[in-house]
């Protein structure tokens, strides 16, 4: 209850260290290309938040923050990210015209308003929670929760159960059709081929990796003419732009791919270098990682 108890020097130091770090971590939400990075940033923010709670004489909340947010919610997020995989939506390129500027302007506006409010606010000196936390903080909070707000607690309980049920209902998938076995898959693929739809490949997709030189999943297979076969690379890698070009792998393979490779024994007539190589264009396009 004394002045010194509220906001000791140590607390300020802690804040000065954690606060900026939290902001930086939060910015990952805005700028990280990969959702997982953003999620990690957010986890950092959550943990930082738990520190701050503890510093703010709310140890119960600090623990709950770690357990609930970091331990449950964020794990759920990461889990879903895993489930959903990567997507074109992950890119930060804007699709709605002007949305980014609107967002920036509104963010600035929000900052201005909040700053206005906070800076002009006449905050009284903090009372501190020593008295309230006399029986330790969790007990105090418990008195509050199971005392004056017990009805709300019951309601929240109902809400949680409902949410759980809702989540189950939403994600539950009735099997409405027969299991798609290999035979059915083949038939579908043939039908699609006949209609001129789909990938127009009847055979199984070729496996990645070339001549056993490299068998990593991100290396496309090469066709007999040495061009990379895109569909041999898993979709996720392709979308992420992690597909490698032959040149990244090995100069030898690249020379085969580009047709400049010369057989030491018998040299077949090599295609002239200036003929446009379809693979070259594609490599530029898709090799965004470089």
């Amino acid at each position: 209850m004394t002045e010194s108890a509220v906001g000791s020097g140590g607390e300020l130091v802690l804040f000065c260290i954690i606060g900026p770090l939290m902001v930086v971590a939060a910015l990952a939400l805005l700028f990280a290309r990969k959702p997982v990075h953003a999620a990690v940033g957010l986890i950092f923010v959550m943990i930082g938040m738990a520190f701050l709670y503890t510093a703010l004489e709310a140890p119960f909340l600090g623990v709950a923050q770690v357990v609930v947010y970091t331990g449950a919610i964020m794990i759920l997020f990461v889990f879903v990210l895993m489930l959903v995989g990567v997507d074109a939506a992950d890119s930060v390129a804007e699709t709605i015209r002007g949305q980014r500027w609107i967002a920036v302007a509104l963010g600035a506006g929000l900052v201005a308003v909040l700053a206005g409010v906070v800076l002009t606010a006449n905050l009284p000196p903090a009372v501190g929670l020593e008295e309230a936390n006399a029986m330790t903080n969790p007990v105090g909070v418990a008195y509050e929760i199971f005392g004056s707000t017990v009805f709300a607690l019951e309601l929240v309980g109902v809400l949680l159960i409902t949410a759980a049920l809702g989540a189950i209902t939403l994600t539950h998938k009735e099997r409405l059709s027969a299991i798609r076995d290999q035979r059915a898959t083949v038939r579908l693929r043939q039908r699609a081929y006949a209609r001129g739809e789909g990938s127009q490949v009847l055979t199984p997709a070729p496996a990645p990796g070339v001549y056993a030189l490299h068998n990593a999943a991100d290396v496309p297979a090469l066709d007999p003419e040495g061009n990379p076969i895109d569909i041999s690379v898993p979709r996720v890698l392709r979308i992420r732009g992690q597909e490698l070009a032959p040149a990244d792998v090995d100069g030898h393979v690249a020379s085969i791919a580009s047709g400049t490779f010369v057989q030491p024994v018998a040299s077949p007539p090599a295609p002239s270098p200036d003929t446009s190589d379809p693979a070259a264009g594609r490599t530029d396009e898709e090799g965004g990682e470089r």
Binding site: L52, L61, A64, F77, V84, L129
Partner: protein
Amino acid sequence: MSLMHYLVLSGILFTIGAVTVLVRRNAILAFMGVELMLNSCNLALVAFSRVHGTLTGQVMAFYVMVVAAAEVVVGLAIIVSIYRARRTVSVDEPSLLRN
């Protein structure tokens, strides 16, 4: 001393969360933005709890957490089911609110 700096931090985090919702197309990321906003509010609540010397703010923050948990569960379930149906989690792509 005042607890002004907590409020400033709370405001900054809130703004970042809000802008995230506006900017990111990935539904999961946008959702994370929402979480960030909730958290920043919680921070302010806890700070005010200390200012006033009562635990009401902490209890409030607790309830926010619980409700946020429920919300996340349902929200992520929705995202998953949309992904199943549409193979994407872009909030623009489905334009579900159109028509």
